[in-house]
């Protein structure tokens, strides 16, 4: 058998374990979670449309007449009973000087629905201060939400922890199970063994998370307005779907190599995992050059829609957050692959030196 055949043989033997192990169950949950959430969103939309429609619906013309500065009584007269109505009274804080900072005593929130748009009205001391209108199902907005979900949850947490579980298991897990000697006693080079195991992990992770990305994207797109969806597929839809799936798979390539190497180089790979989690977390606040030393930067560069900043992020944080210009697609792909090759070379070196020493685990 040549080394290529050996790599494939090892990968085939490992694949079953990676895919069907009870320990891998949670990885599927991570991958499927966004799909479930977007399907839930579609269901929520149809339920709300049904619940808020009919008698409780308010005409769009009447809603358009509402202006800031109007009193709550006037709005009630104009629009009738809202779907939701809540009042919150101001609470004086101990450290607060009631005279120094002028704050409203009573806040009131009302919500109306015109059949398509949800309108949230905010009153302070009886006066309308803000009117927020948005479509109940807004494709444009959902695509941005998807971009945020994909980059902040799926890449940064889902694929990160999924790959941590899958790839650390390949060597460190066998060490803990006291079964690594089985592989070391086979007539294969350690480098070949490493590549075979990496390939098995990669196929499993890329399939699980690639499919998860595709399904969640479809779950986001398909419940939207049929004509918008058709236009989307005819223009940029397929390209977006492709790059989301590619980013998920390349995420597995990058994170997988790092966690495989961490499992070989260190007894406690949690420490590099913590460091990496923090590094990738603070990455957006670092200078551009340092931002490029992260897997996430390259993955985000591949994403077709930039992630919106979270609404509740403090202004100071937003000021500090200066995303480096995204790398070009070829550079992002090559950068990630180069990083992976370097990490795998280091892992091969470690595999050659690795000893079976179960007693110290």
């Amino acid at each position: 058998m040549n080394p290529g055949q050996q790599i494939w043989m090892i990968a085939k033997l490992e694949l079953g374990r990676v895919f069907f192990s009870r320990r891998s169950f949670w990885v599927y949950l991570l991958a499927i979670f966004p799909t479930v959430i977007f399907l839930g969103h579609a269901l929520d939309f149809s339920l709300k449309a049904k619940q808020w429609g009919g008698d409780r619906k308010t005409s769009a013309e009447a809603l358009n007449q509402v202006q800031t500065g109007m009193t709550d009584e006037k709005v009630l007269q104009l629009l009738g009973k809202p779907i939701n109505d809540s009042i919150r009274k101001r609470r004086i804080r101990r450290d607060q000087d009631p005279a120094a900072e002028k704050q409203p005593e009573v806040r009131r929130f009302m919500m109306y629905f015109d059949g398509k748009r949800r309108v949230d009205l905010r009153f302070e001391d009886g006066k309308l201060v803000s009117r927020n209108m948005r479509l109940l199902m807004n494709f444009e907005e959902d695509r941005k939400v998807y971009a945020g979900m994909f980059q902040f949850f799926y890449l940064r947490l889902g694929i990160f922890f999924g790959c941590l579980g899958i790839f650390i298991n390949l060597f460190r897990g066998e060490m803990l199970d006291r079964s690594l000697h089985f592989w070391f006693l086979a007539p294969v080079k350690r480098e070949v063994l490493l590549l075979g195991k990496y390939l098995a992990g990669l196929i499993a992770a890329a399939l699980i998370f690639g499919t998860g990305a595709l399904f969640s994207f479809l779950a986001m797109v398909l419940p939207q307005d049929a004509s918008e969806v058709q236009t989307f597929w005819q223009t940029i839809g397929l390209e977006h779907a492709f790059w989301y799936v590619a980013a998920a798979m390349l995420g597995c390539v990058g994170y997988g190599s790092i966690f495989l190497a961490a499992g070989l180089l260190l007894k406690n790979p949690i420490i590099p995992a913590i460091v990496m989690l923090l590094w990738e977390g603070i990455n957006g606040f670092l200078p551009g050059v340092l931002q490029k030393l992260s897997v996430l930067h390259y993955l985000q560069s591949l994403c077709p829609v930039p992630a919106p900043l979270p609404n509740d992020m403090p202004a100071v944080m937003k000021m500090l957050l200066a995303p480096a210009a995204p790398s070009s697609v070829p550079l992002a792909v090559l950068g990630l692959l180069a990083l992976t090759v370097l990490v795998l070379l280091a892992a091969m070196q470690a595999a050659r030196r690795l000893e079976i020493n179960y007693g110290t685990e």
Binding site: L30, R88, R93, D142, V145, F153, R172, N268, I270, L277
Partner: protein, 287 residues
């Protein structure tokens, strides 16, 4: 040569007190933990932020040092609930990392090596075992949370005087109770993962994943459904909301309040405790 008949005789003298027996495990575990380089480095690094905060308190109480900078700075140099909330949030990150490093080694090795029957054949109940393991984490985590927090509060009270203390004693109470709630929650998560996952490494990852993934999932639900209630299920947010209530600082109107969050945290802790007790039940010796 004198030859004596040997026979088994039960030990009839007095036993050490219950509390002393329970502290045996923490004493040995602390020793082992503090001999780990990473734990020591983390403990040292975790003191940087409290030191910065101490400097800040000093500056805030010595207005003559920054008088030349103009009156606008006064609002930046005030020691109030917001200041302690920021301090607590930063320190809680260190506590979480410490728990993910120290926590998994607490129960997992005992289960893997069948050591629980040995513990339970001593005069220790399951509750004692859980409590003594928890004391390990409570002690360690309080080094980076309650201890520096109370020191900062004492420093501020010492510099600002009795008036400030009588007006702001609730801040000290909030730091103590808030951090206690936090380290109990984190410890329970760490211990449960240690009891259910045989491998230390995976249990450590699980502790981190629990907090990060729940936070991510809650934010995802919020943004997809355009709601805010899911934040209740983000342990980080829930603890922050309870702290905010105790420190008397404002939570945005549309976010879940401290009450819902406290209910979630109590339910979470109860659930984790039940899971722990369930796992350890099978090998308990009935006394």
């Amino acid at each position: 040569m004198a030859v004596y008949r040997r026979g088994y005789q039960r030990y009839t003298e007095g036993l050490t007190s219950h509390a002393t027996r329970m502290m045996v495990m923490p004493r040995f575990t602390w020793e082992a933990l503090l001999s780990q380089k990473f734990v020591l480095i983390l403990l040292v690094v975790s003191m940087f932020w409290p030191l910065l905060c101490a400097g800040y308190i000093y500056l805030a109480n010595h207005s003559e040092l920054w008088q030349g900078l103009g009156g606008g700075f006064k609002k930046y140099f005030s020691i109030n609930g917001d200041f302690f909330a920021i301090f607590m949030k930063a320190q809680s990150v260190y506590a979480l990392i410490l728990a993910s490093v120290a926590g998994p080694g607490l129960i997992a090795p005992d289960l893997a090596n069948n050591a629980l029957p040995l513990y339970f054949s001593r005069p220790l109940t399951r509750g004692d075992y859980i409590l003594s393991r928890m004391i390990v984490l409570l002690g360690l985590l309080s080094l980076v949370t309650i201890v520096p927090g109370m020191l900062l509060f004492a420093m501020q009270a010492g510099i600002a005087g009795g008036d400030w203390f009588w007006k702001h004693w609730y801040l000290g109470a909030a730091i103590f109770v808030g951090f206690t709630l936090y380290i109990v929650t984190v410890s329970l998560v760490a211990m449960t993962s240690s009891a259910y996952v045989k491998w230390r490494v995976v249990a450590g990852a699980l502790v981190l994943a629990f907090f990060f993934l729940l936070a991510g999932a809650a934010e995802m639900v919020n943004s997809v459904f355009r709601v805010e209630w899911a934040s209740t299920f983000n342990p980080g947010y829930a603890l922050g909301a309870v702290w905010a209530e105790m420190l008397d600082i404002e939570i945005p109107d549309d976010k879940p309040g401290a009450f819902e969050c406290a209910v979630f945290l109590i339910a979470l802790s109860g659930g984790l405790l039940a899971l722990l007790a369930r796992k350890l039940r099978a090998v308990e010796v009935v006394k």
